[in-house]
């Protein structure tokens, strides 16, 4: 199983090199598709193994000494925090390869870069050594830079460099923290620096009253900035609309579907478990950032006339729930934030795909120049309805679970007392504001839906090619997923439960509330 785990990370890399050597485009496409399917199957086998082994925490861990001088190891493994995101990545990858079938410009290079990106994404989720995590985290920027910069829209150069510089500035913050850990953790271990991401959780030297609590607060903020850029949490989100608008459809899908999740994953993996006391001290600022993101993103989305930009801002708004859910330090909040990431991975990828289907034919994304799409293609309209309503958080669909649990978790924080005894007024204010975000979401989605899908089809649609079977296949899979995860959130929670119990105990050592009701 550990072999398969490591093979899963590097198979796309090898396939990427092979794709460049393929004689024809068609072969390159089939090889990419084959690789992504194999990787998907591997991830499913690992998941099945994880469940049948009854594993609850870290499993299939393996390590090899890598850089002896600084005690860095090549260490990989899975736990409940990474497994659902790995499956999300591999599953979306297959769909995204299908969505890129029509890329004409330098197809082989596109697919190779995409496969390299896949290695980086899986590496981020499976690395258990902080140094290795950093390497994958940073390396993932590079293929993205080229994918946006070469295959993007009219302002692609600007968007690509903006994306790179923003995330790079974030990673530099993480690098500073790593140097700090490199120097300070020997005080804890009594010799070698510590990089193991589980062992780094809640070190006494970084706890309140510990020798380096002051540093812990600095590190908390630095890691928070590093990952808030990626999530993206307002006000560090400004790269995202540009990147999404300029990126080609499949790249928008992977960006919204997986790359943003790296930020939320890293918050749950690094920022909060490493420095829980600092997190508790600053909870209200982070929570306020999350609420600000929800409302600001929704209001911006409402003001857009560019359809893709609207969807991009909806990502900012939806990912605000993730920040909020983590910040309030409650069980429900954590579960909700995690589920919101999975749900958003499905719905936002689908939303971008829906926009892409029209854009490929209309060559514009002006909402006001569209209308009547439903009557033009009723099937497409139906799946769009599923997708946007799932994003809106309609009960029974995946977007609902995440949002409602984050909101419940937020209000729960007033009673749980983890965020300070006198926090109730702050908590209620934030909770009410966040709840109003739900209304705003409904507002911009319904208004957009009305303008794009309702009414009579326009005459200039006549020459549009009909939506083909490949496109229907992609939206069917994603649409079904919207329902499946909306009805059976346990699919995710069963995997995460054991890990989250441990994680919450780390972050929140006292007064742990039973999670049985939530987790199943």
């Amino acid at each position: 199983m550990t072999t398969m785990l490591n093979l899963m990370i590097f198979l796309p890399l090898i396939a990427g090199i092979a794709v460049l050597a393929m004689p024809s485009r068609e072969q390159a496409k089939w090889l990419t598709l084959g690789t992504s399917i194999v990787v998907l199957i591997m991830s499913l086998i690992i998941t099945a193994g994880y469940i049948s082994d009854g594993a609850s925490g870290l499993a299939y861990y393996n390590e090899v000494t890598w850089i002896q001088a600084i005690n860095v190891k090549y260490a990989t493994g899975v736990d409940g925090l990474s497994l659902p995101l790995v499956v999300l990545t591999t599953a979306l990858s297959v769909l995204i390869v299908l969505a890129s079938w029509n890329v004409e410009k330098a197809t082989k290079a596109f697919l190779a870069l995409y496969l390299f990106l896949m290695t980086a994404m899986l590496g981020v989720f499976l690395a258990m050594d902080l140094f290795l995590f950093y390497v994958f985290f940073e390396v993932s920027l590079l293929p993205m830079y080229f994918l946006i910069g070469i295959w993007g829209g009219p302002r692609k150069e600007y968007a690509a460099i903006k994306f790179f510089i923003y995330t790079l500035a974030g990673s530099i913050c993480l690098l500073i923290v790593m140097l700090g850990l490199f120097f300070l953790t020997p005080q804890h271990t009594g010799g070698e620096p510590l990089w193991h991401m589980i062992e780094l959780q809640n070190l006494p030297i970084f706890a309140e009253g510990g020798a380096y609590y002051g540093w812990a607060k600095v590190f908390f903020w630095l890691t928070l900035i590093a990952f808030a850029v990626k999530i993206p949490a307002a006000p560090l989100h400004t790269w995202l609309p540009d990147a999404h608008v300029e990126a080609p459809t499949p790249i928008s899908m992977i960006l919204a579907g997986v790359l943003l999740k790296m930020g939320g994953y890293a918050l749950m993996r690094i920022t909060y478990p490493f420095f829980p006391d600092a997190a508790q001290a600053f909870w209200h600022i982070v929570a306020a950032l999350g609420v600000f993101g929800i409302i600001y993103g929704a209001l911006c989305a409402m003001a857009q006339s560019d359809w893709k930009k609207l969807v991009a801002y909806s990502s900012v708004s939806h990912m605000g729930y993730v920040t909020l859910g983590i910040a309030v330090l409650t069980t429900a909040g954590f579960y909700g934030a995690y589920f919101q990431m999975i749900a958003h991975g499905i719905t936002s990828a689908m939303m971008f795909f829906m926009v892409g289907v029209v854009y490929e034919r209309a060559h514009h994304r002006e909402i006001n120049r569209l209308g009547g799409m439903w009557l033009k293609w009723p099937g497409y309209g139906g799946w769009s309805l599923v997708c946007f309503f799932a994003g809106m958080g309609l009960p029974g669909m995946c977007g609902f679970i995440g949002e409602i649990m984050v909101l419940l978790g937020t209000f729960e924080a007033a009673g749980a007392g983890q965020v300070g005894a006198n926090a109730a007024p702050t908590v209620y204010t934030l909770g009410i504001l966040a709840s109003s975000g739900v209304v705003l979401t409904a507002g911009y989605i319904l208004w957009m839906f009305q303008r794009v899908y309702m009414g009579q089809p326009r005459p200039d649609y006549d020459h549009y090619e009909p939506v083909n079977a490949r496109e229907y296949a992609i939206m069917t899979v994603l649409g079904i997923a919207c329902f499946v995860f909306g009805i059976m959130p346990k699919l995710v929670f069963n995997l995460t439960e054991g890990t989250f119990d441990h994680l919450l105990n780390v972050i929140w050592p006292v007064g742990q509330v039973a999670t049985a009701a939530l987790g199943g």
């Binding site: 850089i67 001088a69 600084i70 390396v139 910069g149 150069e157 510089i165 790079l168 140097l179 490199f182």
Partner: protein
């Protein structure tokens, strides 16, 4: 009183230098056999360098730490490892020259060129071992004088002569300041031995402080540290590319090794030298920041790489500043010295690669302007991809050697206490700034289409092999297979003078010894 002179044994330990001197003489003499033959002197140089490389490898294993020729030279694993890198690098530079511009050099000039190159290599090799101020002076001059001529080797271009003259004038001024400083140091200490100077530095007299500062100016010139960097971009732009490559790595590497040895001698004493640590640290920080900020504005790739080399020298200076912290143990010194060795090793490959790509492109398109790199990814995809690797490694992308080099330098800095934390912040910020200019060639090559129908650049198998070698070396060091950071740390052992060791380990013993000596005298 005097250490016994075992000339034969000492000569064995300086075998690499001896071999190079022989090869140098041979290279200048072969034209007497056939003036038009360019292959013969080239072969002599390659064989000489190869033999010196082997000798350097053997002397590393044999006696890993010795002081030879009355403590003039220190032969230890640190110096020998640098010599291995240096010989390998010079060998690659000769290859680069053969492959890119030997055919443009007049046949009569070929032996001269090689002789000068070998001469400079001898000087740099000695710089890494110099353990005495006199030796520092001799070695630096031995490295500098041929470099001045090499910089102006394009005799018929005005820019070449100008750059050479600039280099000479600057070099002469720096040397004279340095010699003046050494004379002051000698006046204050009464010895030219590095360890004795460091020992005297415990109670720093004003004269000694001024002397050391003036002496450091000479180092700063060789390292092109700000404010003595002005020669660097002009020389690097106008000199032939192989000379630029050679100077950017070998000359700076040798100077940083010399600086490391000087500071380590200070570092092992019990006394602390906050002024020295701060001074060198600030010198490095200013150099790195200035180099990066100036590089941002360059449109010529060689000038950009020149400023980038200034910045990298700054990183290394910042790293070695930690060596002068008082009371360092062997482990701490190995961290610093190992970081320097690793950085030089990685820097060798990335600079060699970047300059070679610039040279072959300039040769085909006649332009060193970044604008003319537009659309290179479609004209010459392989070459463009290789340049991306070199640029990203210079920037410090994880997965490539340059990143680990910076990490190691950061680990070294930490030894300098709270000042070291500030230096780390400077390093990190500089890395961020440098991203902008390192990514510009990538931007032009991949994101800008070529609108002027510039020609494709095709490269022969030999250059391809050399570039691929550099790229593979960067990836290998980057993913740390083999674990070079560990190896360089193991090699980062420096030997220190015997007199000095007596003085620090037990003052009593020295006194007794001195007493005995007194008795022996009639």
């Amino acid at each position: 009183m005097f250490p016994t002179l075992d000339i034969l044994n000492d000569l064995k330990l300086v075998a690499p230098e001896v071999i190079l001197v022989v090869a140098m003489c041979a290279a200048i003499l072969v034209p007497f056999i056939n003036r038009r033959n360019v292959t013969l002197p080239t072969m002599v140089a390659i064989i000489g360098l190869g033999a010196a490389l082997i000798a350097a490898i053997f002397t590393t294993g044999q006696q890993s730490s010795s002081l030879v020729f009355s403590d003039m030279l220190a032969i230890d694993s640190f110096s020998q490892f640098f010599k291995i890198i240096l010989m390998l690098f010079t060998l690659l530079v000769v290859m680069q020259w053969v492959l890119t511009s030997r055919d443009q050099t007049h046949a009569y000039d070929v032996p001269d060129f090689l002789c000068l190159l070998l001469g400079a290599t001898v000087g740099m090799s000695l710089m890494a071992s110099a353990n005495n101020l006199l030796m520092i002076l001799v070695a630096t001059e031995a490295a500098s004088l041929p470099s001045f001529v090499l910089a102006g080797f394009r005799k018929r271009t005005a820019a070449g002569s100008e750059s050479s003259l600039k280099y000479v004038v600057f070099g002469a001024a720096a040397s004279s300041v340095s010699i003046y400083g050494m004379s002051l140091v000698y006046g204050a200490v009464g010895s030219l031995d590095l360890a004795a100077v460091a020992e005297a530095g415990r109670d720093m007299s004003p004269m000694l402080a001024v002397g050391l500062m003036a002496m450091l100016a000479g180092f700063a010139f060789k390292l092109s540290a700000v404010p003595l960097h002005f020669w660097c971009p002009d020389v690097f732009e106008a000199a032939p590319t192989e000379v630029t490559t050679f100077l950017s790595v070998a000359s700076k590497g040798a100077a940083i090794c010399m600086l490391t040895r000087l500071l380590v001698n200070f570092g092992v004493t019990d006394g602390s030298f906050p002024a020295l640590v701060t001074g060198v640290g600030i010198l490095g920080a200013v150099t790195a920041t200035w180099g990066n900020l100036a590089a941002l504005q360059q449109s010529n790739i060689k000038r950009m790489l020149a400023y980038s080399s200034i910045a990298h020298a700054g990183y290394m200076i910042m790293g070695v500043s930690a060596a002068a912290m008082g009371g360092l143990n062997d482990e701490a010194i190995r961290v610093v010295a190992g970081a320097v060795l690793f950085y030089i090793l990685v820097y060798t490959f990335m600079n060699l690669g970047a300059f070679t790509v610039a040279a072959v492109i300039a040769r085909r398109t006649g332009s060193e302007n970044l604008e003319d790199y537009a659309g290179l990814s479609s004209r010459s995809p392989g070459l463009a991809a290789l340049l991306v690797v070199f640029m990203l490694s210079l920037f410090g992308m994880p997965g490539l050697g340059g990143f680990l080099g910076k990490i190691m330098i950061g680990a070294a800095m930490w030894q300098a206490g709270s000042g070291g934390v500030a230096l780390i912040a400077v390093l990190v910020l500089n890395t961020l700034i440098s991203f902008y200019y390192y990514v510009r060639p990538v931007y032009f090559m991949y994101l800008r289409p070529d609108t002027q129908g510039r020609p494709a650049v095709t490269i022969g198998p030999a250059i391809t092999a050399m570039l691929v070698l550099c790229a593979v070396a960067l990836v290998a060091t980057g993913i740390s297979r083999p674990d070079m950071t560990h190896v360089t740390k193991e090699y980062g052992r420096l030997v220190r003078s015997a007199t000095f060791r007596d003085a620090t380990t037990s003052t009593a013993a020295t006194t007794v010894e001195a007493g005995e000596r007194l008795v022996e005298l009639p």
